[in-house]
């Protein structure tokens, strides 16, 4: 399979260009800082009449964890976009593809190989980084999120969604264009999720539809809500439920996991966009 040759090459490039090294160093710094922050939670309320309860501690820890993980998911999506946006366009511009694609390798293999390399990059970075963060939070505050595996799947899914979109843009546009558009679309989808939530709160059908449409067109925010849900303790969800729909607009809260059908939609979305990328590159004149 020549696609795997391209995958290996892509990983080798990111390694040699020191993307992994930089991510590793920065992540170590971030994890160290946030772990120190978490370690202060148990001492909250010290010196006051009432020390904080276990429920409060879990609530604070989960909220903080969600914020930290939001930053993590942002960095992950950001890195994925910037690794994918020039992945094909830079090789076309430099003429590297002329020599490579005159070999018996199909454009399908080339694009799929690139995609696999980028997905592997996301997995290699995200799984250890997020796991270490969750384990350290468990050690210092004693809070472990209820669905850690689901959490990983949702944030990784979110990154793969933007990565696939950026790779599609990379078949036609310069890296800069793909990178900027990928991020803007990601931000729009995040806002779309909030708009949809506002629609729910005020029972406004138009806003709700906008939210639903944006969740379907670019399923990053839908997956992010799944990630949030995976980090919340049951007590917090119960309390929010009791409060009604008011929390729906909050991008750092989700009362329910995404439906199975939505997850299927996300997988299909990724495959569909990848197929368009292959089609687009197959018709590209080199």
């Amino acid at each position: 399979m020549l696609a795997l040759t391209i995958t290996r090459l892509q990983l080798q490039e990111l390694l040699r260009r020191r993307l992994f090294l930089v991510l590793l160093l920065l992540t170590v710094v971030v994890i160290a800082l946030t772990t120190w922050g978490f370690s202060r939670i148990p001492s909250l309320g010290e010196g006051q009449a009432r020390p904080i309860s276990d429920v409060q501690r879990a609530a604070v820890a989960s909220q903080l964890l969600i914020l930290v993980m939001f930053m993590f998911s942002f960095v992950l999506a950001f890195s994925a976009v910037f690794a994918a946006a020039p992945a094909i366009s830079a090789e076309v511009e430099s003429g590297t593809t002329l020599a490579m694609l005159a070999r018996p390798i199909t454009r399908l293999e080339y694009v799929v190989g690139k995609w696999l390399g980028l997905v592997a990059t996301v997995l290699i970075y995200a799984i250890p980084a997020a796991s270490i963060q969750m384990v350290l939070v468990q050690i210092v505050v004693g809070y472990s999120p209820p669905h850690p595996l689901e959490f990983l799947a949702f944030v990784i899914g979110e990154a793969i969604v933007v990565l696939t979109l950026s790779l599609l843009l990379s078949t036609r546009f310069a890296g800069m264009v793909g990178g900027v558009s990928g991020l803007i679309l990601w931000g729009l989808a995040w806002m779309g999720g909030i708009v949809g939530g506002v629609g729910l709160v005020f029972d406004n059908a138009t806003l709700t539809h906008v939210g639903t449409a944006s969740k379907l067109i670019l399923p990053t925010d839908g997956l992010w809500r799944g990630a949030v849900w995976s980090l919340e303790p049951a007590t917090l969800i119960a309390a929010a439920r009791a409060a009604g729909v008011a929390a729906a607009a909050n991008p750092f809260f989700a009362a329910d996991p995404p439906e199975a059908l939505y997850v299927v939609w996300c997988v299909l979305w990724i495959l569909f966009v990848l197929a368009i990328a292959v089609w687009s590159f197959t018709r590209k004149e080199l």
Binding site: R16, G95, T96, R103, L286
Partner: protein, 302 residues
């Protein structure tokens, strides 16, 4: 398949919007030929190569490479290609680039090592094999590109301006490499505007201009005949016209240029001029170079 010509095209055409890059190329290049594809800038040489390798789809027409349709995987396995404007992965070493292309070409893994070292030696990069491509000079990159094109002893080697970045020694080396390929029976398709280079190595050439072949044939056919320049005085116009039976006549005032003349007939020509009352001051026979022919074909004054 083995008897099929190396390249056969039929009315192969390519348009980019309103620009006609190639206007209908019909040619057959037999196996083992060293074929020069000549033309001025923008004539469509690179476009033709990209069409043949399936890098760009044709607008019209048809072509076969090594007896198979364009883009056929088995055929591509037996083609080596040096693009005109290219860079290899700057973060790989020269050896790694060669290994990558061994892999992409589907060469037997056991043969890689030898192929790579041979290629490095042939293009004169044996001592820079471990160097990163990003640190290579332009000429070194082109040498590496040539090495890549030679991997696995392909049946057809397509070289798009292989010497554009090379020093005179490099150019000489490339000519030797091309001759070596010819001796091995490899077909070479050489894009170039370095006419002397083409003249030295190619069996056959085609000259393209604005997307059309304006002349094609062996060098002898193309350069049919020699030229002689004669400085003559005291010869009237009518007498000069009478000389056109020796070849194509060009009156440049004092100098008379006769193209396509058989050199054996030069004494006869001089005798005629003298008989007609002309005074001959100088006779300069000249073998027509490809450059003369090229400029003549493209309608530029020599």
């Amino acid at each position: 398949m083995i008897d099929a010509p190396a390249i056969r095209t039929q009315e192969l055409a390519k348009r980019y919007g309103s620009i006609t890059a190639l206007a209908g190329l019909t040619m057959t290049i037999p196996r083992g030929d060293i074929f020069g594809f000549l033309g001025p800038n923008g004539a469509g040489k690179t476009t033709a190569v990209k069409l043949l390798l399936g890098l760009t789809p044709p607008t019209a027409g048809h072509a076969e490479v090594l007896g198979a349709a364009i883009g056929d995987r088995d055929a591509l396995r037996r083609v080596g290609y040096l693009p005109e404007l290219f860079r290899y992965q700057s973060w790989l070493s020269a050896r790694e680039v060669l290994a990558l292309h061994c892999e992409l070409a589907g060469l037997d893994r056991a043969a890689w090592q030898r192929e790579i070292e041979d290629a490095l030696a042939i293009v004169g990069l044996a001592d820079r094999g471990s160097g990163r491509v990003g640190t290579f000079s332009k000429g070194m990159q082109q040498r590496l590109g040539l090495g890549v094109a030679l991997l696995g002893a392909p049946d057809l080697v397509v070289l798009d301006e292989p010497t554009s970045a090379l020093d005179p020694v490099g150019r000489h080396d490339v000519r030797e490499i091309i001759r070596g390929l010819g001796e091995r029976g490899t077909t070479v398709f050489l894009n170039s505007h370095l006419l002397s280079e083409v003249e030295q190595v190619c069996h056959r050439v085609a000259i393209v201009d604005r997307g059309r072949v304006v002349a094609e044939g062996t060098l002898d056919e193309l350069l049919g005949g020699d030229t002689v320049r004669i400085r003559v005085t005291d010869l009237d116009r009518a007498a000069k016209t009478g000389l056109s039976r020796f070849g194509q006549l060009d009156d440049e005032g004092e100098w008379l240029v006769i193209r396509g003349i058989d050199t054996e007939r030069v004494p006869e020509l001089v005798a005629d001029i003298v008989r007609l009352g002309g005074r001959v001051h100088a006779v300069e026979p000249r073998h027509e170079s490809l450059e003369d022919r090229f400029l003549r074909l493209l309608g530029q004054p020599n």
